[in-house]
Symmetry: C2
DNA sequence: CTTTATCTGTAACATTTGTTACACCCCGAA
DNA sequence: TTCGGGGTGTAACAAATGTTACAGATAAAG
């Protein structure tokens, strides 16, 4: 049960009494699942009836439209709560595909059991509400970028946060554009003197 | 205190004991504010430390980028909770401007008092979590549309939901495009036989 | 070291949307 | 009635992004 230790690291349980958490995780009907890289953990539209706790590995959340165009919305690294904002919604379905980006292990906890925990442990309730709220802030920031900002601005934001570009294809998926468009945006940013590139490191000016 | 009755209609309090709600609203330090059409209730970046309950009027939430391009994210009608997803976030600031679209009355409730209510009343906690979750779903749907769908698809969705187009300028702000672009998209949809227009009513085929 | 696959830069052209401008219509005010 | 304002349709051109193609660079595999 060494995964219990990992899950204690979740911000969700940080302020909570460790023995309470341990007891909760131990007593909960343990639906434990593992996935290998490339497996789909959930599909857009799937019902979302459990709390999914990622305790090992990395997952990608991405959307896809009818023509196959993709957008990687988020990349989550263990330990992390998956899709906390979609469990208790009126229409509790995944709005994204969740795909294992490495070998992954996930603990599924019954929704009712978790509600009970929130009743009993005030700090868990507060932290869970904070988690959901942060997701909403994250989404509205993304919405702002996609609806109002051009590609070059989005790209500058990305570079500022990540400090560089490891893989153009990857970043293009996150920006929601085709790969050559990303390369062009990079060239233009360089031509405009906004950034400088040595190797994969990008410097903002 | 007839606004109390209106607020009882909020889905947030639907399952809750009415006298409890009444008592809560009455006892809470009543920061009551009114705005006239066009007033800004909150600005992008403002701290968000209270629960804002809209009990009269209609507000618009919109974002703006540096060049002045605007996007109307949502239009809320009383009774409604304003920005529930931003009160308890790690960085609790408004990500949108909130503007009075008619004469508005808003009740501000202290964040800590409301937390207390959620502790005491399980149904309020559950409903508040549902509210936030629904906001997150709403935002991820919007993100999907803006990042992955073209204007014509967004427009069809809008027409399907609203059953028509009252005012092109208004809808253009919601779609995040210039007004002539909207008119063009409409023409093209008609030319493609996807919709038919008589007067302001739009029929989907 | 050579081979091979992947990543990168870039060009040419198509599509979508923005911008500006203008003519038309409808409707209410003077 | 005339006038003026707001809403609508549309055209012409500009800017941003998508699509496809290809050539060179780089990294991984043998």
């Amino acid at each position: 049960m060494e995964h219990l230790k990992v899950l204690q690291e979740l911000s969700l349980f940080k302020k909570c009494n460790p023995t309470t958490v341990e007891k909760f995780l131990a007593e909960t009907p343990n639906s434990l699942r593992t996935y290998k890289k490339g497996d789909f953990i959930a599909l857009q539209g799937d019902p979302c009836r459990s709390l999914y706790l990622l305790y090992k590995g990395r997952v990608k959340a991405h959307m896809e439209n009818d023509e196959g165009k993709q957008l990687v919305v988020d990349i989550l690294e263990a330990p992390e709560i998956l899709a906390p904002a979609f469990i208790f919604g009126t229409n509790n379905r995944f709005p994204v595909n969740v795909e294992a980006d490495t070998h992954c292990s996930i603990l599924c906890i019954d929704r009712q059991r978790f509600l009970q925990l929130m009743h009993d442990e005030v700090s868990v309730m507060e932290d869970f509400i904070r988690e959901i709220s942060d997701r909403a802030v994250f989404l509205s920031k993304k919405l702002n970028e996609f609806a109002l900002q051009g590609l070059k601005v989005r790209l500058l934001n990305y570079i500022q946060i990540h400090g560089g570009i490891r893989n153009q294809q990857e970043v293009a998926s996150i920006m929601g554009v085709a790969r050559p468009s990303l390369a062009r945006a990079l060239s233009e940013l360089i031509a405009e003197g906004k950034i400088r590139m040595n190797d994969k490191k990008v410097e903002i000016l």
